[in-house]
Amino acid sequence: MATLTFTRDDRYNAFITMLDNAETGPGKLSGIGIAIKDNISTRGIQTTCASRILEGYLPPYDAHVVTLVKKAGAGIVGKTNMDEFGMGTTTENSAFGPTKNPADTSRVPGGSSGGSAAAVASGMVRMALGTDTGGSIRCPAAFCGIVGHKPTYGRVSRYGLVAYANSLEQIGPMARTVSDISLLMEVLTGYDPRDSTSVNCPYAHIPDPDIRGLKIGVPEEYFGEGVDPRVASVVWDGISLLERKGADIITCRMPSMAYALAAYYVTCTSEASSNLARFDGVRYGPPADTRQTWHESFQERRRDGFGTEVKRRIMLGTFALSSGYYGKYYAKAQAARQQVRNDFLRLFREVDVIAGPTMPTVAFRIGEKTDPLSMYLSDILTVPANLAGIPAISVPCGTSEGLPVGLQIMGPHFRDERVIDVAYAFEQGVSR
């Protein structure tokens, strides 16, 4: 046993809670300080999801992944900032103030795992845990210039992850190198009987940069309307590098992209409206005002405790699930989701992985995105992987306007190893 001590110099506001020190032990992550996104339960350490409504909440138990990283010898440095309950693309929607992008402090770090990305990018920690519901690991990884991987749905236990959209989200690794991503994957994966959606598929793999003969599909839609041509150009350069390393590049089409964003937002808001119902003032937050009636009390608590974006999504989801609208929205979204899945299944019969930009643009300026709809549109390239449940990684592939750009690589279900190999090959190619 050893003790890691930390400095509390958090100039990017990456952390909501910082600890002074942490115990580390023997194991694969021995002596490594790790940051945990604040929607992952940590026993006795405040877990807020960046929301006022959970301020002061001390979980009585560790999330499965927290138990795993502790067992592997890592020391927990603190809990990182995020968009409230994961709802956002910039980490501006936090009750604890926005996180700044270490690459350019006038810019957002991306979201919702912006705190974890900033902590890794700035060197405060070597690795971090993020969560990805519609791109929340890959977007900040791309914006901050680090590596972030969303594992195949079911490969990492969600037990202890405060749910935003259960059917879409996964906990995943964030680090500066693909090797560290791979190392963390070894620790995080494996069957957990407490998560009924968990799949027994442990990751035991050493990244292999040999991608000769690998078929890489590039969907036209990933370079379509809304994608900044400068970002597109940087990503094409990256894809060319993979070609030079022996991969075959095959352009393809993904028509279901037309419905992906709508399907995503209907699904995640519907699930969120139900998941967040438990925050009614009875069990969490300051004591209820007993002079009020139950209805007055819980309405007031939810009105004051949730941020604007959270309330917007709860209302959207409540509407989408209402009788009379269920068929029009939720049921339709599930049908569209199936189409996205089918598109991927079809493509993966022809190609081994799919590549494209992670984000359509570089990091926004802080305060730039005021219109929620234009914010939602920036998730278009990341949500398909969540809808289908497939693995997807974002790896740094250069800069545009001096800001980091991410290359996204997606693979078939349970082929996280392949996706990580391609990212590794790319990383090795760039550094040479």
Partner: protein
């Protein structure tokens, strides 16, 4: 019965209610008697423990916790579905029912919506007009919410406490078609259902809150329902919510029948309304909350995978059920059909009977079905409190003639009273001795004055000269009168045959 004219007066039609029928459908929630809760490992046996002691992150609905299905609960529910002759679906799914209430830890209840475990079954019961079939619409499982405790009563309490010990207890919901035609039939259906659940070993009716019933009831012209079908109640209907006892169901429905009939007779229109049964007053009252369509926003539970239940169902072997046991009691023990029905209507009674039947099955059947159950019912006691050992001892005493039937009943009453008061009782033998109920055995045909029967007979003859004279004059009734007096003097301990013999011997000699 003829209704009065419409009070509004625009239209004076005379309504005839003589040919109406009562239409009842039930929705029954029962606790499945598993050791652990539906989605976590917490123990379900919290009765003797303090509030919020049988809880964990899952049944408290703490952020990040995930449900995991207790296979035993599903297996229990499938047993019920099979016993109710239901079709078990290929794949069943849990759904979230969203609403806000302080006892609801997650802000939603995990239940089943459009993909229940089983559909389309039936249960045969003894209806008002003989054997009848009540169709079952669906069977599904769900979690119980917690429990609210209003300190000092719901109306006056300054605050309300929440106890989540009950949160996550597995419930089975059984919905019937509206095939029941009277409150009495409803009670008979529930009794049969309870017996079936207990035979299956999935239900303990003695646990507090183990059963809750919602009843749909309306009064329609005879035959109307069969023609028009469900959901077209032209005269309106009431849904009586949350009846928590078997007796309560019959009471609540009887009240509703009278209330609805009176309202119809007065020409009132009955809308569709939700009512509550006030057990203490035996009445139903209109729900205070405004009549509004509840919006539960059901959607599939994303944290649980669909269950392929049809494959599990194949592995379930059902035990002997009430109907089969009833048939066996008739053939194996020679019980009368009525006794067989009574004895098999409750699992504990059936098992009790089989433990003591060996002495003389028909004789014991009368004693258990008529005598014992009657005395228990009078005292509102459960058969669980009667030990087959002492009951057997008592029956043997009666059967051998050591105690008369009458004496046996006296002993039984005394023993049950003792149990009710102190929890235990003396042995039947001791009780017989204490009460002096042992039958007076005449060892020989002696007419010795020491023989208590002889002694009693001589006393009676001395006390009743008129009857003796009447007997001498040939009046048969006079002899019966004298026998009765002797029996009374011996406090029922003498055998009637002995009394006859002794009386005749004395009177014959003296006459």
């Amino acid at each position: 019965m003829t209704g009065t004219a419409d009070t509004a007066g625009q239209e004076s039609r005379v309504m005839d209610f003589s040919d109406d029928e009562v239409i009842i459908g039930l929705e029954i929630h029962c606790q499945l008697d598993t050791l652990t809760k539906l989605f976590c490992g917490c123990s379900t046996d919290y009765r003797d423990d303090g509030p919020n002691t049988h809880v964990c992150p899952i049944c408290l609905g703490l952020p990040g916790s995930l449900p995991r299905v207790n296979r035993k609960a599903i297996e229990y529910a499938l047993r019920v579905a099979k016993a109710l002759n239901c079709t078990i679906v290929e794949e069943s799914e849990f759904a979230r029912k969203n609403y806000f209430y302080p006892d609801l830890n997650k802000g939603f209840q995990i239940t089943q919506y459009d993909r229940p475990l089983a559909v389309k079954g039936y249960l045969d019961i003894e209806g008002d007009d003989g054997e009848k079939r009540v169709r079952i619409t669906r069977v599904h499982v769900e979690e119980d919410p917690g429990r609210l405790v209003h300190k000092g009563g719901a109306d006056r309490a300054k605050y309300t406490l929440v106890d989540y010990n009950r949160a996550g207890i597995p419930l089975i919901e059984i919905v019937t078609e509206p095939d029941i035609r009277s409150p009495k039939e409803a009670r008979k259906f529930l009794n049969k259902l309870r017996a079936t659940l207990e035979y299956l070993g999935v239900f303990d009716s003695e646990k507090e809150g183990s059963l809750r019933v919602d009843a749909n009831i309306s009064i329609q012209p005879r035959g109307w329902f069969d023609r028009e079908g469900k959901g077209k109640a032209d005269r309106g209907r009431a849904e009586v919510k949350n009846i928590s006892s078997y007796k309560g169901v019959e009471k609540a429905l009887t009240f509703e029948v009278t209330r609805q009939k009176n309202a119809l007779r007065r020409g009132q229109r009955l809308g569709t309304e939700t009512r509550h049964f006030v057990e203490t007053r035996g009445v139903t009252t209109s729900s205070r909350s405004k009549e509004m369509e509840q919006e539960y926003r059901y959607f599939p539970e994303p944290d649980l995978r669909p269950l392929r239940v049809c494959t599990w169902a194949d592995e379930i072997v059902l035990p002997e059920l009430p109907d089969a046991r009833r048939a066996r009691f008739i053939t194996q023990y020679g019980c009368s059909p009525i006794h067989a029905r009574t004895l098999t209507g409750d699992l504990r009674v059936a098992e009790f009977y089989e433990q003591v039947a060996g002495i003389d099955p028909v004789f014991v059947a009368t004693w258990v079905a008529d005598t014992l159950l009657g005395e228990l019912n009078y005292r509102d006691m459960s058969i669980n409190r009667v030990s087959p050992d002492w009951f057997r001892e008592l029956i043997v005493l009666v059967h051998k003639g050591n105690v008369t039937d009458k004496g046996g009943i006296e002993v039984l009453r005394s023993l049950l009273d003792q149990i009710r008061e102190s929890g235990s009782c003396e042995t039947p033998g001791v009780c017989v001795g204490r009460l002096g109920l042992r039958v007076l055995e005449r060892t020989a045909e002696t007419m010795s004055e020491d023989d208590p029967v002889v002694k009693a007979a001589r006393e009676v003859i001395a006390e009743q000269p008129q009857a003796v004279a009447d007997f001498a004059a040939g009046k048969k009734e006079a002899f019966n009168f004298l026998v009765g007096k002797v029996m009374k003097k011996t406090r029922g301990r003498a055998k009637p045959a002995d009394v006859n013999q002794v009386l005749l011997a004395i009177l014959g000699k003296e006459g």
